[in-house]
Symmetry: C3
Subunit: 368 residues, 3 copies
């Protein structure tokens, strides 16, 4: 039996601090545009079934109990105690937490304390730029403050994350935009923008990526069909090939998050380029009983030293639990089968399991 | 053991009324451009092997018997009796029948009687427009008759189907074309057209889709690599994303037919948009022994209330049989494995099996 | 148990004649841009693990022994003896050898003698054109010599191979370029070229493909993510659809090499077009323990008479071994499972195994 006693979750968000009813809980199980279809429920999904499998026992209930019963028990314990039990039952010992959007989700400190774990901050680039825009009066001050903010964030964050692919699609021009191009784009964006307005200008998105690359911190890039967005047809990580090539040899690692259903494409990039790594996890909480099949596709082309676990969880600690449990079970089953078939040695399988679960993340993010 | 005693086939065609020789039978096993390569036979395909597995016992022969022996027995029984035995052995209790092209295939009434089942009509949009063009003298009368024909069809058909994706590719402009644009396109098409000429003009294809959407009947869209066509490189259902977004909230359901090999992409759309549903079946008759693996990919992202069975069969009742039998066996195996692994409860598995086999179709098509 | 006692390797290269240290051996295990990432090794890949599984026993060591020990034993035997033992242990009885690039790898004669097998030559088009360019003074002589060289190669080679997809992407215009277009492209290329310069002009690449098609010899086309290149985002074999349609009925067979991760797309083309065949093998040596899962995807849509084994191996005889061993084991497992499930008859499975392993290649390449 291959086991992974300690997990580093290389990408997640915090959890909600408020009590949830059945409907608000259900709405957090999946990323949709609009409510579920009449006559259907988001509990009837792989994620819903996985939550019902793994989480009730952590709160003292039977696996697969009905959603209403689970939610009642969750409220009975209170959101703080329920989160505490869930996070501590996940097997995750280090959380890397994307702290945007701020406000309603717990930050790294609270995650560490609730989960009896270590936690570090990931800074998302686009919300950072929007914050800077909210407080900068001119194009000049915006660009200067932006550079300074990224620089300052690099001093305390373990990584940057970008959702440029969700905002605009991954087919961005690979090279850094020139200073004049950036000034003009910033001028246009700031002129047309109200406070809080989202950044989706492709020139500024590229500018941000290149400032982050220059910082030397690992840069996480959302790829694949993770969230609804205007660009679901431009989410193939292979569209990043030229950007990847342009950033090779600069000393900054790239990490392709999620990737599904293009996990084989992401794995190919990790196989060809030394600085590219791939996520194995965020897709698992969405594919539930199929986690082993999905994970195995990443394990085809990606070098085993380039694959990193994440839960991709957001808002519900249940999603941290199912991300972690599904990953551990899937990895154990896939590698265990290969050992049983004689394809891998048991020693290699244990070593690789430890690398994917924690070791690779410790090396890439310098977690000591 | 998960079972599905009753199947609603949400998309199929009728069957041939004439006796078939070995060569004409073989030619109906697959959609090809031109005859099979010298030295090969279409019986040596997943579909050919599946027919030889499932159909001979329904005609009193051993599974896997040679094609020539099977065809001899088929002729001995006569096409009517053979069709009767095959359709009644399929497990399908309701057929939704695409009635185009008219003439050589049985219609819903004959399918119901031969199969001892219920049957309803699906109206395909493009042949309807071609019929209207054949009998309309002017652009004005064509457009008026077209609107009236779709309206009339909506009164008796349970759904519309469109092969716009096969005719032109799925990257159609999402919004409805303006009236002037439609008139100009109709003028061009009618002027250059001989009787029976196919509709492939993208403006008129979009116009048809939007008339159908306005009718409120579910709209089935062919997607994926189902049939040869000029646009096999533009068959990814993700290309429909903007059309899907434009039709959200209008009260009309979309059903993505076939989808293979992009079944994960189709499932993503069903997960994100309330009005999108996906087919699980039409690809199975083509992938045979791999049916469970293909079906399982649809079950990753698609909510279980949004997945509908179809056989996708045409011309040969053998294809209705293999579509249905492969689906039942694949679904039973996939869900049964998840129950055995503890990932799903047995009760959930039985419930979901019934939804995919029949319940979801009854809800979407209002079959009562 | 399904077995394939004799394999025709429809596409490979020769092996190195020089002794290899640990680092130079590792570098040949995968196609990368630049060295592996610090803290990782290319031995920690599916290919690395497959080499450690299958090759040590052929040199008298335990499976899965450490790389350093394996390399020491390899040097102890000497490169010639090690190659001889490995090739003879592969199960391959006929090698079709791509003889470009010339010089440092063994040719067909040496492969036959080292492997106790038959061997035939495959001529790669682009290096042939580059050789002709090196020795032609004018555009006229270049074009005349090119036609003559392809014609002469067709007399002794069993097939042509093209890497146009790697050089330029697969979205080439389908029709043959006109004579004036070819002359202008040749003029531009020759004028800007130094001796040895690579051919990547799309007009000349198409011209070469059409000269090869006219020869009647099977034409092998690299597709999928096989090697790093400028065009990794344009490697989907479906991009070849119009070229495939344009070459239908001309009497020349096309063989899509590698294909991964688009093996289902390649299989679709083989199902629709009589003259298209697909490779099942080159991807297996790269996906190792996942070989059965990858192979099974090709077996979904491709007619069984259109699938051909290759190792895709280059430089290391270890890659011929793992290509062949993984293929045999994967094919035996996939077909054996289908027989055990009752989906296929044992007789059909054995017949199909023999076709894919050798029979189809004998027919397509006329190997007698």
């Amino acid at each position: 039996m291959i086991d992974t006693p300690s997990l580093v979750d290389q990408y997640c968000h915090g959890v909600l601090r408020t009590e949830l009813g059945l409907g608000t809980f259900e709405a957090r199980l999946a990323r949709t545009e609009g409510p579920p279809a009449p006559g259907t429920t988001l509990f009837d999904t792989q994620t819903g079934f996985a939550v019902r499998r793994w989480c009730p026992p952590l709160l003292g209930l039977e696996p697969h109990c009905p959603p209403a019963r689970y939610l009642a028990r969750r409220r009975e314990l209170g959101v703080l105690e329920a989160s505490r039990r869930l996070l501590r039952g996940s097997g995750i010992t280090t959380y890397l937490v994307d702290t945007s959007p701020p406000g309603d989700l717990t930050g790294p400190g609270e995650m560490a304390s609730a989960g009896d774990a270590r936690a570090h901050e990931i800074v998302r680039l686009e919300p950072l730029a929007e914050q800077v825009a909210d407080t900068s009066g001119t194009v000049d001050s915006f660009l200067a403050n932006l550079a300074e903010s990224v620089h300052a964030a690099a001093a305390h964050a373990v990584a940057f994350a970008s959702a440029a692919g969700v905002r605009h699609g991954l087919a961005l021009a690979p090279e850094p935009p020139g200073p004049g191009e950036v000034r003009r784009a910033a001028g246009r964006w700031l002129a047309g923008r109200r406070a809080g307005g989202e950044l989706s200008d492709p020139v500024l998105l590229r500018h941000l990526l290149w400032i982050a690359v220059a910082s030397g911190r690992p840069l996480q890039l959302h790829a694949g069909l993770g969230a609804p967005g205007p660009s679901t047809d431009r989410a193939d990580p292979l569209l990043l090939t030229e950007f990847v090539r342009a950033t090779a040899g600069l000393g900054t690692d790239l990490v392709l998050l999620h990737g599904y259903p293009y996990q084989r494409h992401a794995a190919h990039l990790a196989g060809v380029f030394a600085h590219v790594h791939v996520d194995a996890g965020a897709a698992l909480a969405r594919t539930g009983a199929r986690a082993a099949a999905v994970l195995a596709e990443t394990l085809e082309l990606a070098p085993f030293g380039k694959i990193l676990f994440s839960s991709g969880a957001q808002a519900l600690p249940e999603l941290h639990v199912v991300g972690a449990r599904l990953f551990r079970e899937a990895l154990g089953r896939v590698l265990g089968t290969w050992v049983a078939e004689g394809a891998w040695s048991a020693g290699d399988a244990e070593r690789v399991a430890g690398m994917i679960a924690a070791g690779n993340a410790r090396r890439v993010y310098g977690l000591g």
